[in-house]
C-alpha cells in the first residue's frame, strides 16, 4: 500500500514537469497550428541561461526567473523572426504541409548546435533548491523528497497563474479568442499576430520552467530534454492537443502511469509504455480525452 502511495506521489512530481511541457506545446499548437518540436531546444536554451545564473548566484530561484524570461524572449523571437517568415514563404506546393514541422526540427537542431558551441556537451547539474533526500515515514525512507514537493508546488503555482491569466484577464481572453476563432478575434479588434507572439512567449517561459525543474533532478546537456519533449507531446495528445486542461490532465495521467510501470514492471518498459499509450489514444480516441466528440481540424 505504501508503495502505491509512493508511486502516486512520484508520479505527480513527474507529471508536473510533463504538464508544463505539454502546456507549452498546446499553447503554440492552438495559436499557430504547429507542433513546435523546437520547444525542447527553447526549453534547453532557457535552462542553460537558468543554469548560468543559478550557478553564479547560487540561488536557484533567480536562475528559474531568468530561465522564464529567456524562454519567453526566445519564444517570442522564434515566432516573430522565424514563423512569420516561414508562413510568408513556404505556403504552397507539396511541401507546404510539412514545412512547419521540418522548420521547427531545423530550429531544434540550430538551438542545439548553438548551445553545444557555447556551453559544450558536458553534463551540467544545477544546485537543487531543496534536498533530494527522501522523507522518512516511521522507520522507512521513501524516494519522495522535498525537491519533489517543490516541483509539484512550483508547477501548481504556475498552473494557477496561467489559469488566472487565461480566465480573468483581457490578454487571456484575447489569447483564447485568437486560438479558437482568429477571424472573429480580428473583427473584435484584437491584433492577432501580436497576440500569437505573446502566446509563444508564454509557452517559452513555461517550457523554461519545465527545463529547470527536470534538470534539478537530473543533468543538463544539449540532448537532455528530448525525452521530455516526447512525453510532453504524448501528454498533449492524450489531452487532445487543443485543451490546456486536457494537457495538464494528460500529463498527470501519463506521469503516474509511467511511474507505476517504472516501479512495478521495470525501467526499460517505461518508454514502450508511453509509446503504447500514445498509439492507443490515437486509435481509440484520436481527439483526446477532453474532446466532446467533435473532430477538429488538424
Amino acid at each position: 500500500m505504501q508503495k502505491v502511495f509512493e508511486t502516486i506521489l512520484i508520479g505527480l512530481s513527474t507529471g508536473s514537469i510533463y504538464a508544463l511541457m505539454s502546456l507549452a506545446l498546446v499553447l503554440v499548437w492552438r495559436s499557430t497550428r504547429v507542433v513546435n518540436f523546437a520547444q525542447a531546444g527553447q526549453a534547453m536554451f532557457s535552462t542553460y541561461i537558468g543554469f548560468e545564473i543559478s550557478s553564479r548566484s547560487e540561488v536557484f530561484w533567480l536562475g528559474l526567473l531568468f530561465a522564464i524570461v529567456a524562454g519567453a524572449l526566445l519564444g517570442a523571437g522564434v515566432d516573430y523572426f522565424f514563423m512569420r517568415v516561414l508562413f510568408k514563404h513556404a505556403n504552397s506546393g507539396p511541401a507546404a504541409v510539412v514545412a512547419p514541422v521540418i522548420a521547427t526540427l531545423g530550429l531544434l537542431g540550430l538551438i542545439r548546435s548553438f548551445v553545444g558551441l557555447t556551453w559544450g556537451g558536458e553534463f551540467k547539474s544545477i544546485e537543487t533548491p531543496a534536498s533530494t533526500n527522501g522523507f522518512t515515514i516511521g522507520d522507512s525512507t521513501i524516494p519522495f523528497s522535498p525537491l519533489n514537493v517543490l516541483i509539484i508546488v512550483t508547477t501548481a503555482l504556475i498552473l494557477i497563474a496561467l489559469a488566472i491569466l487565461f480566465q480573468r484577464t483581457n490578454l487571456g481572453l484575447a489569447l483564447r479568442a485568437s486560438a479558437y476563432a482568429p477571424e472573429i478575434a480580428q473583427l473584435a479588434g484584437i491584433r492577432t499576430a501580436r497576440t500569437r507572439t505573446i502566446g509563444w512567449a508564454i509557452a517559452g517561459g513555461v517550457g523554461g520552467v519545465a527545463g529547470m525543474l527536470v534538470t534539478a533532478n537530473n543533468f543538463l546537456s544539449p540532448y537532455s530534454l528530448d525525452l521530455l519533449l516526447v512525453f510532453g507531446f504524448i501528454a498533449a495528445v492524450i489531452g487532445g492537443l487543443e485543451s490546456m486542461v486536457g494537457a495538464v490532465i494528460g500529463a498527470f495521467v501519463l506521469g503516474i502511469g509511467l511511474t507505476f510501470i517504472l516501479n512495478y514492471v521495470g525501467t526499460s518498459l517505461v518508454f514502450i509504455g508511453g509509446f503504447t499509450v500514445l498509439i492507443l489514444v490515437l486509435i481509440i480516441k484520436p481527439d483526446g480525452i477532453m474532446s466532446r466528440g467533435k473532430a477538429r481540424r488538424a
Binding site: W29, R33, V34, V35, F37, F82, V85, L86, H89, A90, S92, G93, P94, A95, A96, V97, V98, A99, V101, I102, A103, L105, G106, L107, L108, G109, L110, R112, S113, F114, G116, L117, G120, G121, P222, D226, L227, V230, F233, I234, V237, L241, S268, L269, V270, F271, I272, G274, F275, L278, I279, L282, I283, P286, A298
Partner: protein
C-alpha cells in the same frame, strides 16, 4: 524504357570506374552516399509523393538493419537473402505503421514517428537477442578472392551498396512515374477529390508507407553493412533528422535530387571538419559545427525553397514568361 535501362547501365559503369580510381576514404564515402540515396528515395516517396511526414525513417531503417543482421548471424544465409529479409521485415513494419498513420494528420503523424525515433533504443534494449546498446556485428564477409588481393573491404561494400542503390532507384523511379506515383500525388494534393475519383486514400497511404519502409529497410541493411554493425545508436534521432534534411535539400518531391541530397549529407561533416580546422580545432566546433550547418541549411531551404530548387526554377521561368 529501354533508354532508362541503358542510362542505369551507363551509371553503373561510371561508378565502377570511379570506384577503381579513387582512394579508400572516397570509396567508403561512396558507399555511404549510395546508402543515403536509397534512404532519401524512401522519404521522397513517402513525404514528397504521398504527403505523409515521417520523422521516424531512422526507425524503419533500423528494422531493416536488424532483420538483415539477425538473418545473417542466425541463419548464415547468403548476403542477398539478408537484404531481401530486410526489405520484407521493413515493409511489414511499414504496413503496420502505415495503418496507424493513415488515421493521423500531419502533426500527429510527425509527433508519433518522432516518438518512435526517440524511443527506438529503448525498444532495442528491451530484447537481449537484439544485442542491447552495443548491438550486433554485421558481417557480409570478405570480397571474393578472384577480385584480387588489392580489392579492399570498402570497395566491396561500395560495389554492393551502389548496385543496390541503382536497382532501388530504377524501381522507385518506375513506381513514381507510374499511376502509383500519380495517385499518391493526387491524395496529397486533395484527398477528397482523389476519393471521389475512386481512390481509397487510406489504402494508398498505407501502401506508400509500406513501400517507403521497404526502401528504408534496404537502406538500413546497407548502412549496417557499411559499418559492420547494427546498434540502436546507429539509427538515432540524428539520422532521422539528417534524412529529412537531405530530402528537403534535394527537393522533397523530386527523385533525381536524392543523389545530390545524399552527397550533401556525406559532405557536410567533411566541410564542417575543414571549417573547424580553420576556425581553431576546438572540441566544441568539431562536435557541433556539422549540426549547425545542417540546421541552417535545413531552415534556409525550408523557408526559401520548400519544394526543392527545381520548383523555384520553374516559378522563375514562369514569371519570366509572364513578363
Amino acid at each position: 524504357m529501354r533508354k532508362k535501362i541503358l542510362l542505369f547501365i551507363v551509371l553503373g559503369w561510371v561508378l565502377l570506374i570511379v570506384g577503381d580510381r579513387v582512394d579508400e576514404l572516397r570509396v567508403y564515402q561512396g558507399a555511404q552516399i549510395a546508402m543515403y540515396t536509397i534512404a532519401l528515395a524512401s522519404i521522397v516517396l513517402l513525404t514528397g509523393y504521398s504527403g505523409q511526414v515521417s520523422l521516424g525513417n531512422g526507425a524503419m531503417m533500423a528494422v531493416g538493419g536488424y532483420a538483415a543482421a539477425l538473418t545473417l548471424t542466425n541463419l548464415q544465409t547468403p548476403i542477398w537473402f539478408a537484404f531481401l529479409m530486410a526489405v520484407i521485415a521493413a515493409s511489414l513494419f511499414g504496413a503496420l505503421l502505415g495503418a496507424a498513420a493513415a488515421r493521423l494528420s500531419g502533426p500527429y503523424l510527425a509527433g508519433t514517428t518522432l516518438a518512435l525515433a526517440v524511443g527506438l533504443p529503448a525498444i532495442a534494449n528491451q530484447f537481449t537477442f537484439l544485442g542491447g546498446e552495443p548491438g550486433i556485428l554485421f558481417d557480409v564477409g570478405f570480397p571474393p578472392e578472384r577480385l584480387g588481393e588489392d580489392f579492399t573491404q570498402y570497395k566491396w561494400f561500395f560495389w554492393i551498396a551502389s548496385s543496390i542503390a541503382l536497382v532501388a532507384l530504377f524501381i522507385t523511379s518506375n513506381i513514381l512515374s507510374s499511376r502509383f506515383g500519380r495517385t499518391w500525388q493526387a491524395v496529397r494534393g486533395n484527398a477528397l477529390a482523389a476519393e471521389l475519383a475512386g481512390v481509397n486514400s487510406s489504402r494508398w497511404k498505407i501502401l506508400a508507407f509500406t513501400i517507403s519502409s521497404a526502401l528504408a529497410g534496404l537502406a538500413g541493411a546497407v548502412f549496417a553493412m557499411n559499418i559492420s554493425l547494427v546498434a540502436p545508436g546507429a539509427y538515432s534521432l540524428a539520422l532521422s533528422f539528417a534524412l529529412v534534411t537531405g530530402a528537403v535539400l534535394a527537393g522533397i518531391s523530386s527523385l533525381p535530387g536524392v543523389a545530390f541530397g545524399a552527397l550533401i549529407l556525406v559532405a557536410i561533416p567533411e566541410v564542417a571538419d575543414a571549417l573547424a580546422g580553420r576556425l581553431g580545432d576546438a572540441d566544441k566546433l568539431n562536435n557541433y559545427l556539422p549540426g549547425l550547418i545542417v540546421s541552417v541549411l535545413l531552415i534556409l531551404s525550408v523557408i526559401y525553397t520548400p519544394n526543392g530548387p527545381g520548383e523555384n526554377l520553374r516559378k522563375l521561368r514562369h514569371k519570366r514568361k509572364a513578363h
